[in-house]
Symmetry: C2
Subunit: 198 residues, 2 copies
């Protein structure tokens, strides 16, 4: 594994996790393609050979950044859907927290999974992150469908349509945050979006 601690030879002189966090911030703010390896090494405080030895290449580093993002800043969505008693309550909480996350002044605005691979020339990178987004839509649809089957939602509920609508709103909120929309404005968008539930 890339994260195992070396037992022999000269030890790494930088904090791998701290360097990864710097890379995450940079990719979040500028996107995959617009972030150069020179930008990364400067922000991470290391030289190119150290980056390549520790992370492979730019694409593999971005892959680790995506994983780290999903387990940290992006984990609120999975948590909201898993912890709330119904899909409806989960989506409401997810949208509410998305408004707060996307406008948090402590980190770049918007969602890394949504913005960082827009206009990316690498089909592999673009496709991998797109697949994560589309998988999230399918997972949400399944969650709603299960809730309808269990009688937690009205029989007229359309799981696919609700999932698509929710995805569009979340992704639109991310873009609006990048354009300067405030947390209050996006919380209002989130609350309005919930009114379409049957």
């Amino acid at each position: 594994m890339a994260t195992t601690t070396a037992k022999r030879g000269r030890p790494r002189s930088f904090d791998r996790e701290a360097a990864l966090e710097q890379a995450l911030r940079l990719f979040w703010e500028r996107g995959y393609e617009a972030t150069s390896v020179a930008d990364l090494t400067t922000a991470m405080g290391i030289r190119p050979p150290s980056l390549y030895a520790a992370f492979g290449d730019k694409g593999a580093l971005f892959g680790e950044v995506v994983d780290r993002y999903r387990e940290s800043h992006g984990a609120y969505a999975t948590r909201a859907l898993a912890e709330e008693p119904t899909a409806r309550a989960g989506v409401a909480r997810m949208l509410r927290e998305a408004a707060a996350m996307a406008t948090d002044p402590d980190h770049p605005w918007g969602c890394l999974l949504i913005s960082s691979t827009v206009n990316c020339t690498s089909p592999e990178v673009t496709g991998a992150v797109r697949e994560l987004r589309n998988a999230n839509v399918r997972a949400l649809e399944s969650l709603i469908r299960a809730d309808v089957a269990a009688g937690h939602e009205p029989a007229g509920t359309d799981p696919a349509a609700l999932a698509q609508f929710t995805a569009a709103v979340v992704q639109g909120m991310s873009q609006r945050a990048r354009d300067g929309a405030t947390r209050a404005e996006l919380e209002r968008v989130a609350a309005d979006a919930m009114r379409i539930w049957p």
Copy 2:
């Protein structure tokens, strides 16, 4: 003006409008930054000096592309809001047509004004197009406000919130289209979004 016909000297040997349309397609599909001048000259069928003589530089060419887009593929939104009798009817039509436009197989998916400058390193280009988006939100808010004042919408209507919500949905639909959402799926999103109107 850049569009006036030359009266003396060797005439231009290519169709400026046709070349501009090719540039529009490329910028629409790949975004501003990921489209290189070499890509552009190949698609436009000209050599770099001809591009620079006719359009200035890459940024100016993109500016003309944006203008052309707003007057062609992007004009449906302004038309919808201007031609329908109420803001509500205008927004409903705009969202419906946005679903069709964003998934039209005859051109790149999504909206050029929304996607082409995401992750762009030029503050001028990014800022100019962001301002167009934000101006559209403000214009929609004013339209709704005027409609409320004229009694065409219920007194409880919140123009700013409705404009933000509509902007988020439109921008989310563009992103979903780029991820492969179908016209029918986005038309359903558009129809659902209208249900939040009072």
